[in-house]
Symmetry: C2
Subunit: 215 residues, 2 copies
């Protein structure tokens, strides 16, 4: 199990038992999450943008329009952080104080780098597509030169990173276990619905398997 | 419809048609989301923490341990931002370039303020509990003086805020509509599962209605 070296800002200080620093745990959370929030400074104040992300090896990737102000800010290597959070449940305890949530989150600190090499850039975009809808990349019209130019891809190394996890039932104060109140966990998860065809789609084109890949 | 005044940083610049500035839209998104990400500067670098949030009137609230470093940083009124994102679907287009996601997000910029008034603080915590499990607050053991002291509550005014929304089918380049490839939306949403009783719960205590409130 490969451990990521803790730094002062990745070490989980409050409830340190919830911290995890092994690469496998961090990668699993990054891979399950569909959305990341990226934090950066913009004109002297904290700013944040939600964006899709994906992982290739020891890097997390994000992308967007070449004109996107976040990507413009980040491509020159300013400090940023990227966080993903999977909400797993509400934890209903016997006292208000011990109510909680079950979750798995990852935070990465670092500097992003623009992917300018055309082969690397195309491979990264394909990996993103394949992660969400395997096989689709080969079926749709690929990006032309102008579209690639209009797309910026950034990578952020998973070097300064940690996970934080809470799972399991509520932990109540011992005397409160005698209270006649229901306690437990309300599970929460993302679910995928029946694919909705584009109104302009000819009726004879069936829903492909990859449209149910996340299910 | 009450419009929130746009500022340079809340105005949606890329794809401005996706921006929304009316208070109703912003409040609905804040109220549906169960998790927010809060961005702030910590020791000269961008930092971010995922946390539960709730709304009362024109303020968003967050809370945590009195020792939580984010709340400690924020209570003195440094600049921060708070973002919530609801992922509604994958948008599968006929070209890689026009793939997208349907989502509703809100960003708020501002300074948080600590809620120190004891009546306000208790009312805020009750509102949070009632939002997730209506009626539960009256059934469980309420917070004692020590627990209230160990809990910090902050409020952030919804004054500099905007929403960003994408919905509907893919928008493809006109010639691509002729391609024989499935296109449409894969809906995604949070779902709530069957409540899981605490292993230490006596069998005779039934699952309360509020444990299914989010369903």
């Amino acid at each position: 199990m490969s451990e990521i070296t803790k730094t002062d800002r990745t070490r989980v200080k409050r409830l340190p038992g919830r911290g995890a620093y092994d690469r496998d745990t961090i990668e699993l959370i990054l891979d399950e999450a569909l959305i990341a929030h990226v934090g950066f400074e913009h004109e002297g104040a904290p700013a944040m943008i939600p964006t899709a992300h994906w992982r290739m090896g020891e890097w997390v990737y994000i992308h967007g329009s070449s004109k996107n102000r976040m990507l413009l800010s980040l491509k020159d290597g300013v400090s940023c952080c990227l966080c993903v959070t999977l909400l797993d449940g509400l934890v209903l305890a016997r006292s208000t104080f011990h109510h909680s949530m079950n979750y798995r989150s990852v935070i990465i600190y670092g500097q992003a780098e623009e992917v300018t090499d055309p082969v690397h850039k195309l491979a990264a975009l394909e990996a993103f597509s394949e992660r969400l809808a395997p096989g689709r990349w080969a079926e749709v019209r690929g990006p032309n030169r102008q579209e690639l130019k209009a797309t910026r891809v950034l990578s952020l190394p998973i070097t300064e990173a940690s996970a934080k996890i809470r799972s399991g039932p509520p932990i109540d104060d011992e005397p409160d276990y005698a209270l006649p109140v229901w306690a437990g966990v309300v599970p929460i998860r993302l679910t995928v619905g029946e694919p909705v065809p584009d109104p302009r789609l000819p009726g004879e084109i069936a829903i492909p398997g990859h449209a149910r890949h996340l299910d």
